[in-house]
Amino acid sequence: MNEQNAYQSLAETTDHDDPRWAFGTGIVEEAGAEITSPVPDGVDPADLAAYCLMLGDDALVYSHRLSEWVSNAPELEEEVALANTALDLLGQARVLLARAGHLTGGDEDSLAYRRTDAEFRNVALAELSDGLDFARCVGRMLIFSSWRLALLHRLLGSADPVIAAVAGKGVKELTYHRDYAARWTLRLGDGTDESHVRMQAALDALWPYVGELFRTSDEERRLVGAGVAVDPAQTREEVDAVLDQVLAQATLTRPDKPSIGTIGGRSGRQGVHTEHLGHALAEMQSLARQHPDTQW
């Protein structure tokens, strides 16, 4: 290598998607579908935008929580794996938010950084903090990725080309995340006495947030008919089967915990969140809100 090369490269044009990134950045252009594609026939653009926000916010907020692990993971190999997962989800979120932005007159950043808590549409499971407990991290990833994979599988044929493209890429990613989480569930569940106790406790704490994943919102119900969305209730059997299989093999007990309650029937999909989301967004949006009218 010529010793000057590294510096000479500075004079070149800066290309955002340079393949020299070791691990990639999950940049939007990989999505393979035009953000500006026409809205499918018979679909209310507001419903489609809301649905993109649901799927996008799940990915964005969970990715944000996963990135709390940076420099805190139990081993360097896990640093890389967790960051990969966070990047995958961030990539999915960016496409979905860009699609929603196109439909509502905004963009990915205005949606990520300018909405209030109540305008976020993610499920509660995405917004919890792991509190740097690796068992919580593994348990949440197992539940979340099993569920999202089941959703994305069914969205491969979505009438919306952007959602279908996100599903196409996302299925591979989520398969990987689920595999990672399942393997770690086995190691922690069937590892040491301590890890077994911790893993079981994590599942017990997470289980009340599972029920919400299968609740169908009004927007989803309308979009199912148009072939755009999937009814999450239909994924329950598949997700249960995966979780039962993994937990049994990991010598863990499926928790018998009731779901957290809704407020007048409303929860994350309707913008009613846990107390955790506000803090995550306060941090995420702080700098962008301090400098509202500029580029970075």
């Binding site: 590294a6 800066t14 990134w21 420099s71 190691r187 590892g191 890890s195």
Partner: protein, 310 residues
């Protein structure tokens, strides 16, 4: 013994690589362990100051870039620990030395990141200085280290570009952003110069390292190269460096520059920099909080092995 030493010397003299199984002088081996291990520690500790802004990155694109960059640093640390391990030490042991402060890491990471401009300036100046330091190591006499460095340098050059690109966007933004960039440059310039270490022209250690092909240039040579490259880049950004002595010297065809505060450098290396205690405590907490996880994985692997054997 003389025979082996002669073969070692001949390999070095021919600019060939020493490989893990080759005989090598004990002092060569130990010098390499120190250098590679502390280089690895620098990558891992270096995740913290930049990681400090991942959760607050101002756009999703910046968030993805920063996350990918910090992830690269974990990868760089892994490559380097692996190179050190070919010399008969264990990564776990090196991590223990780090969190017990028995080994050091680059002084630069003991400074805090206080604004988002710091992310750009770290890419531009800190990674830029690191590239000056690291590119010669691609020809280091020790094979595993040289190979790790080739991979790292390729990735590092892109890290620097993303930093510079962020700063370009910021200086073309608002007054507040331009001020943020200048303020950040003011804080990072001198620590960046210190990254090259004190002058070492008369150092017996440096002379020995050069003879061994572990070191290719003096600290001052590398620093001068960095200054000469950075000044036009600063001009292109419209920022200044906080050094009144900085001036073009037509006779030397190089920039003259002032003397960094070596007392500050030594204090930071010795442990009293602005963020030393925080950085080491953070790394220690991550390592210790992960112990039960690593043990569980090991126990599970042992059980599986026993089950297969049964």
């Amino acid at each position: 013994m003389d025979d082996m030493e002669a073969r070692f010397d001949a390999t070095i003299a021919a600019d060939q690589r020493i490989e893990p199984r080759d005989w090598m002088p004990e002092a060569y081996r130990r010098t390499l362990i120190r250098q590679i291990a502390q280089h690895a520690h620098s990558e891992i500790i270096g995740m913290q100051p930049e990681g400090n802004w991942i959760l607050r990155a101002p756009t999703l694109r910046r968030k993805a870039i920063l996350l990918a960059k910090v992830q690269d640093e974990a990868g760089h640390g892994m490559y380097l620990y692996a190179a050190a391990e070919t010399l008969g030490v264990d990564r776990e042991e090196l991590t223990e030395k780090l969190i017990e402060s028995k080994q050091k890491y680059s002084s630069i990471f003991n400074y805090p990141t206080l604004s988002y401009a710091d992310i750009g300036v770290i890419g531009w100046l800190v990674d830029g200085a690191a590239i000056c330091n690291q590119v010669p190591l691609c020809r280091c006499s020790y094979g595993p280290y040289a190979r790790a460095m080739i991979r790292i340098c390729k990735e590092e050059s892109f890290h620097q570009r993303q930093g510079y690109e962020l700063l370009l966007a910021m200086v073309n933004g608002t007054d507040a952003q331009r001020e943020m960039v200048q303020e950040s440059v003011n804080r990072w310039w001198w620590p960046s110069l210190m990254m090259f270490g004190p002058p070492d022209d008369d150092s017996p250690n440096s002379a020995q390292s050069m003879k061994w092909g572990i070191k290719r240039h003096t600290n001052d040579e590398l620093r001068q190269r960095f200054v000469d490259m950075s000044v036009p880049q600063a001009q292109a950004l419209g920022v200044t460096f906080p050094d009144p002595a900085l001036a073009w010297n037509p006779e030397r065809q190089s920039y003259d520059y002032g003397e960094p505060d070596w007392d500050e450098f030594k204090a930071v290396i010795a442990g009293s920099g602005p963020a030393n205690a925080q950085r080491v405590a953070h790394r220690r907490a991550a390592h210790e909080n992960g112990a039960w996880v690593r043990e569980a994985a090991q126990a599970y692997a042992d059980k599986q092995k026993a089950r297969v054997a049964a």
